[in-house]
């Protein structure tokens, strides 16, 4: 049993919408080109205020790596699964492309990868973790919006941030228990 539980804490007030994270993700994970082939995104939040007192803000996001992942529950062939350290992955060889996980995901975090003929999604760059490297989106972000780490380690930066700041999850009412935490 792994005693790790990976998570990302985001301070989206720092986001400058440079989209370096989305590009890094595409390059790192060989995500096919195309507007709707993506693992992560940067959404613009509704503009606040009126000119000249006006503010734009952004919300970068990706698969929430839910602790209670609906995509894993619904997958008929166990192609979608959760690792011991809590990361939700897709075994491309088992995926039958029924797309049930796409309808079950409340975050629209999955897409059909036509190159590998399977469902694809954010993996927290799982292949980099054994080397001690952070996910590409975390590593590349200029203002350091995302912080990646182990929730089970009280000395990790994510654990400290969760103590220091009040945070919220996206769509908590869905009961998915996301492991992406946004600082209020």
């Amino acid at each position: 049993m792994s005693n790790k539980k990976y998570a990302i804490v985001l301070d989206d007030t720092k986001c400058i919408d440079c989209k370096a994270c989305t590009l890094a993700c595409k390059m790192e994970n060989h995500v096919p080109t195309g507007l709707y082939n993506y693992r992560i995104w940067v959404a613009e939040k509704p503009v606040r205020g009126h000119f000249p007192n006006i503010k734009r803000s952004f919300q970068p996001s990706q698969c929430q790596q839910c602790d209670n992942p609906p995509c894993v529950h619904v997958c008929p062939t166990k192609a979608s699964y959760q690792t011991e350290d809590g990361v939700v992955l897709v075994d491309h060889n088992k995926c039958i492309l029924c797309k049930y996980c796409m309808t079950a995901c409340p975050y629209d975090a999955r897409y059909v990868n036509e190159e590998i003929k399977a469902i694809d999604k954010c993996t927290f760059c799982y292949h980099r973790l054994p080397e001690g490297r952070e996910p590409a989106c975390v590593e590349t972000c200029p203002p350091k919006v995302r912080v990646f780490g182990d929730l089970n380690d009280p000395n990790s930066e994510v654990s400290k941030l969760l103590v220091e700041h009040e945070t919220f999850n996206l769509k908590p009412e869905k009961g998915t228990k996301p492991k992406l935490y946004y600082i209020r």
Partner: protein, 394 residues
Amino acid sequence: MTTRTETIGINIFEGNKRISNVWLGFFLLVSLLGAFGVGNILLHGHEETLGVTRTVPWGILISTYVFFVVSSTGLCLISSMGHVFGIEKYEVIGKRAIILAIFTLLCGFGVIGMELGHPFRMLIYNVISPNFHSAIWWMGTLYGVYLVFIAIEFYFLMKHNHKGAFYAGLGGFLAGISAHSNLGAVFGLLEARPFWHGPYLPIYFILSALISGCALIIIILNVAHKGPANMPVKEQQALLGISKIFGLLIGILIFFDIWKLISSIYGAPPEKYETVMQLLTGQLSTNFWLFETVFGLLIPFGIILFTKGNNIKASLVAAVSAVIGIFFMRYDLVIAGQLYPMRAATPGAGVQGATASGFVTYTPSFTEIAIVIGAISFCCFLYLAAEKFLNLNE
């Protein structure tokens, strides 16, 4: 008539001479449209040929699959009144209903096979890597079991082995109900989609299956005998009974629909309200009002109500109208549940197919429509061929 009845059962290949080759040829020809669609997918891949998107991953092929299996289950459930539950009057519908149940199920499998990216991989991993938490796994597996039962049931019916038909029919009945309610659960267990979520859909699916079953039985008996004028009295009696059940079930479905609508509008529950408004006033409103409500519910209910189910010709009109309506009911149910995007369609969010209204859209591609028309046509061909070459009388 008497001579004809006496010879029944002697030769299982004594087919129905009334079925014309012209119709067989016509339906086979239209089926080629489906073959074209299949070829298109095989040559150019799903992405280029299907209208489904990241936000609407299930399109008309899924809804047509649902339509087919709803029909199959309904035919099995209604026909089981005769050879499973022993209501003698309905035994006469058994063979025709079960053979059509087999064909509709096979055509349904064919259609969903075209939507799945890896249909053959499914056959393998469904067995070696099953997920017992998945409603799709249960639905697919139970439909497989159901197919075996109804195939055996048909064999026993043709052999006039009533005991065998009873056991196989009972197995088919139980597997059919389980499979079909699981199909409702495929949608009903999705917490992410409030319009689908809840125990309503598994129950609703069984009710609508019964309606499809009644309608199709009314249609096929009329096809087999070229209308009520040439129909044997026993079959007329069965149809008069089925017509009344059909009307009652539509009445219950109207009641279900009204409460589904009220509970989705009252207090504007998030996502449910917006979705239902897409049906009432939005992009699916023509489908909903004209096809679902008028063709699917009001015309058949009105006809059965005013004829009291005593006029088989009128029941036939009601049945055809209901089947058209039910096809659109399935489409609307599947598509509407996906129109409210899972993320707000703001700039940068990459919500595929989003319109200014914030909803996403889906339009079936030509390939998808070709497969749907081809599959329905092929199902008609298979049924007429069975009618022509097999003795489907009692």
